[in-house]
């Protein structure tokens, strides 16, 4: 999937936040979304590069991918199951 052009339904900005806030906020954001919607997460915590993909594939959801942005943060994409 072309991550630069994916249509997202919601953007969660957690830049500057460290463990455990990235996962907590991601879990909360996903709870409020409908099935099939895509959540984009902007994060800076290095731990998120493993945590978000692992968590994103749980509970019927699908982790679509991640890409490093030129501004220094990482963009993660999760599709609600």
């Amino acid at each position: 999937m072309d991550l630069e052009n994916v249509q997202t339904n919601s953007v969660l900005d957690i830049r500057g936040l460290g463990c455990p806030m990235p996962l907590l906020k991601t879990k909360k954001a996903l709870k409020g979304m409908a099935s099939g919607e895509i959540l984009e997460i902007l994060g800076t915590d290095p731990g998120s590069k493993k945590d978000i993909p692992d968590f994103g594939n749980k509970g019927g959801n699908q982790f679509i991918g991640m890409v490093d942005a030129s501004e220094g943060h990482t963009r993660y994409f999760i599709k609600k199951g």
Partner: protein, 389 residues
């Protein structure tokens, strides 16, 4: 050949190591430290740093042990440097700012951990990890306290998420097209290699000065810091994840680590290679239990325990720098208060489990305890019965 080396470099220094592997390596290093001099701990190092601050500020009369001669101060420094080297090798080192609320939590978390570690006579390492492996009853009591404290801490974070706004904060990278500034990221691995060689040189300097045993603590700490940062090994997650995401991964990693550590310690003590009562100084039950509870809340607020605070500082996280300072200052003050007030005498007794239950009962009982912990965590992973959110 170059591709092969790059592949191995990437596997070792860029990709995240699995938690179970890190757990095994940490247990092995901890056993080396135990045989080297005494069980691995962390809070005692923070205590020395805090003592120095208050001594220089004029609050204490007694001059503390120099931080470059205090074994735990040295191993803590080693952890910091090991994590720094690991971050550099992966080009991950960066001074990372945080929102104001996170700094407030870092401060509060450090204070609570400082107090908790004083009551329990150890942090998550000295008061729980090493204590349990040494078969000190206080270690198990602290473990229960940590579990309860983590639950309360998580409940606070959930409340905060609902009721307090948070702002994103990040440092923008410099525009490389506009300036001819040095590409700092590219040279990080070389700097990391240089620092690693520096640590080995310093160890040789200690040996040359006939201080090999003290210098060894720096080196072992360095190895632990490297392993912990490579794997992002965090004791907090063993207590938090079952309530937060249901994941049992860190429970398994810590349990595997504890099984190896306690098995090794039992053989060493059982064979009288060291005095069996070594490492048994945890006040069972009041000190360990309440200390663990308070520490548990603190580590959730801070987003790191005593050990993971150090490796997170090593990768540049400014919130945990605040935590580290608060922990050191508070731990020193609380320890002084508990001693002077006489409360220390009322916190409990040091209990070496084989003295109470015999080796024949203690060993299988402790093993069963760890396996039960893992099984319950795995059951929770499937059923999410303990997940609060």
């Amino acid at each position: 050949m170059k591709t092969e080396i790059q592949k191995y470099y990437s596997a070792v220094f860029e990709q995240e190591w699995p938690a179970w592997l890190a757990g095994m390596l940490i247990a092995i290093i901890a056993l080396m430290i135990f045989l080297w001099e005494s069980p691995w701990t962390i809070a005692a190092g923070y205590n020395d740093w805090g003592n120095w601050f208050w001594y220089l500020a004029g609050a204490y009369d007694k001059r503390p042990l120099d931080p470059w001669f205090h074994p735990v101060s040295l191993s803590n420094t080693g952890i910091l440097i090991g994590a720094f080297v690991s971050a550099l090798m992966a080009r991950q080192f960066k001074i990372r700012p945080a929102p104001k609320l996170e700094y407030a939590k870092g401060l509060a978390g450090g204070i609570l951990m400082g107090v908790g570690a004083s009551l329990a006579k150890g942090c998550n390492v000295g008061g729980f990890f090493s204590a349990v492996a040494m078969l000190s009853a206080g270690g198990f009591a602290m473990m229960i306290g940590l579990g309860a404290g983590a639950w309360v801490g998580l409940r606070y974070l959930l409340w905060e998420m609902e009721h307090l706004p948070s702002q994103a904060v990040y440092s923008k990278p410099k525009d490389k097209t506009k300036s001819k500034a040095f590409d700092w990221v590219k040279i990080q691995p070389y700097l990391g290699g240089g620092v690693a060689i520096g640590v080995i040189v310093v160890f040789y300097v200690y040996a040359f000065a006939d201080k090999t045993q003290v210098g060894g603590w720096l080196f072992f700490g360095f190895l632990i810091g490297l392993v912990m940062h490579r794997s992002r090994f965090c004791f907090v997650r063993a207590f938090r994840d079952p309530y937060m995401t249901g994941e049992a991964k860190m429970v398994k990693a810590v349990a595997v680590s504890l099984i190896i550590y306690f098995a090794g310690s039992s053989v060493i003590k059982g064979a009288y290679l060291v005095e069996p009562a070594m490492g048994i100084y945890h006040p069972f039950v009041l000190g360990s239990l309440t200390g663990g509870f308070i520490f548990g809340i603190g580590m959730l607020l801070a987003g790191g325990c005593a050990s993971s605070t150090l490796w997170r500082v090593g990768e540049g996280q400014t919130k945990l720098m605040v935590t580290m300072v608060a922990f050191a200052l508070t731990n020193s003050l609380t320890a002084k208060f508990l001693q002077v007030s006489g409360i220390n005498e009322k916190l409990g007794q040091d209990i070496f489990l084989p003295d109470v239950m015999t080796w024949q009962i203690t060993v299988p009982l402790v093993l069963t305890f760890f396996l039960t912990w893992v099984l319950v965590a795995m059951w929770n992973e499937e059923t999410e019965k303990f997940v609060v959110f």
